[in-house]
Amino acid sequence: MTAAVEFRAVTRHFGNVRAVDGVDLTIEEGSFFAMLGPSGSGKTTCLRLISGFEKPNDGSIRIFGQDVGDVPPNRRNVNTVFQDYALFPHINVRDNVGYGLMVKGVDRRTRNDRAEEMLALVKLSGYGDRKPAQLSGGQRQRVALARALVNEPRVLLLDEPLGALDLKLREAMQDELKALQARLGITFIFVTHDQGEALSMADRLAVFNEGRIAQIGTPNDVYARPRTRFVADFVGSSNVLPPDVTRAFGGPAAWASLRPESLHVGVAEGATPTGTVTGLRYLGAGSRLTLDVAGAEVAALVPAGQPVPATGSTVGLRFDPASLHVMEGEG
């Protein structure tokens, strides 16, 4: 498989701020790739570097093997679904969708037919005559999607596409986007700060921190084997153990991560380590305990139906040693 997008030592800074700092990245063609990170971590800048709205100060970007350092956005066969959709307010939905064809000089009839096809694809048949202002948030999002797809781009960029939608709609759209990508077979690159969204949708994901990629891999890799404390912290809600606490858990003197759901709470006798219950939160599907283990705060999940120890009591912790993940990186 060829690489759809390739970053080689790409740096982009704004004044003194290094928004993107020496990023190397390869995104396979046909994959569903997520860029995950807190705001200001450089993920959106990476997206804008691909679409051409930003230019790298250093390094090179290739799209399907071609260097795009000199190619303005309008000539890149890459389309974007913008975070705020950026629909043209003065024209109707059909013309919005057909816009990309119009500027290429496609005649009106063909353009309208293609626009209707696209609207059907995003389940908005019959909405062509409306103005963007007359649509709901979810509908606008679909129009933005249809508009971006009408040009048959080889890469589709999505900038926090679901951020403005409510929870239920978001979940439905996640499934739809995933299905659409599978059907069209084109490369989707999407940016999100929601780790759940990234984990559930992406084939591969890159976790960004302070302009660099902290880790890149499949969702399972990243979730189960975070390379750094930052990744462990940001992706899911792992216990991050300092070296001496790792030792108390029977591991080497190094930073390690341990998922709360991997810890089983039982009697203190014969267990290593032990901890004191300091807090308790009921979650419905179980309870989340906060424990003091060797001076560090550690979380553990108690599934529903099992006895919940009282606050202040001492309990023993048992776990599969394989689930104690020692991290390579420090940061």
């Binding site: 705020d84 950026a86 629909l87 003065h90 119009m102 508009r147 040009n151």
Partner: protein, 268 residues
Amino acid sequence: MHSDRASLSLRASAIAGLLFLHLPILLIFLYAFTTEEKSYEFPPPGLTLQWFGVAWSREDIWPPLWLSLWVASISTILAMILGTLVSAAMAQTKFFGREQISLLILLPIALPGVITGMALRSAFSIMDIPFSTWTIILGHATFCIVIVYNNAVARFRRLSGGVMEASADLGANGFQTFRYVLLPNLGTALLAGGMLAFALSFDEVIVTTFTAGQQSTLPIWMLQELVRPRQRPVTNVVAIVVFIATFVPILIAYYLTRNGSDIAGSGK
């Protein structure tokens, strides 16, 4: 109860304020019909319709009227071009000197007109430029730029920056983006700004007296008529006609800009 209804005193003072703004205008209307010719006295000694006919047949009204229309049209066009260019630049990026430029645009309207007028006159005399229609236009366009700029920049601010990028993203080159996205969205704001600039130029007298030389614009003609009255009510007739003629463009400007937060037309 706090937010829905205005208190009686607020409503009363607001309406009283509006009436205060209109009392002299009623008077202008009244004195267009007075029988007294050379000076004003209150109450007017009698009423007549003759001044409308007299104004129509006065030949000396027409050249200033045409000159004013011509000057206002050219100044407005120039101001629209320059104002749009600078607002596009200001909306685009942050750059060094941005603040200074915004101050510079504001200056011709923030400094008293007598200063602008006198400065231009000094420059004309130093450069040995003879007074002409173009020297009037030069002055007018200078202070009209800010009107167009204010309207355009407010619209740029409201227009999410994304739509221009979206257009480029979809394959449009810069000219297509300008034609299909920018112009339709900016159009009404430019039109509103242009109409207000026109009205401003049409009524300007403070700067014009310095830049006009021998020619008379309509306001200068009025000034001459008012200090040297022969058939003084004729000036009132002209004022009424201009008042009614500006009513429509102002109304249109209002409907073009009313959906935005940009209040059109502040500034003179």
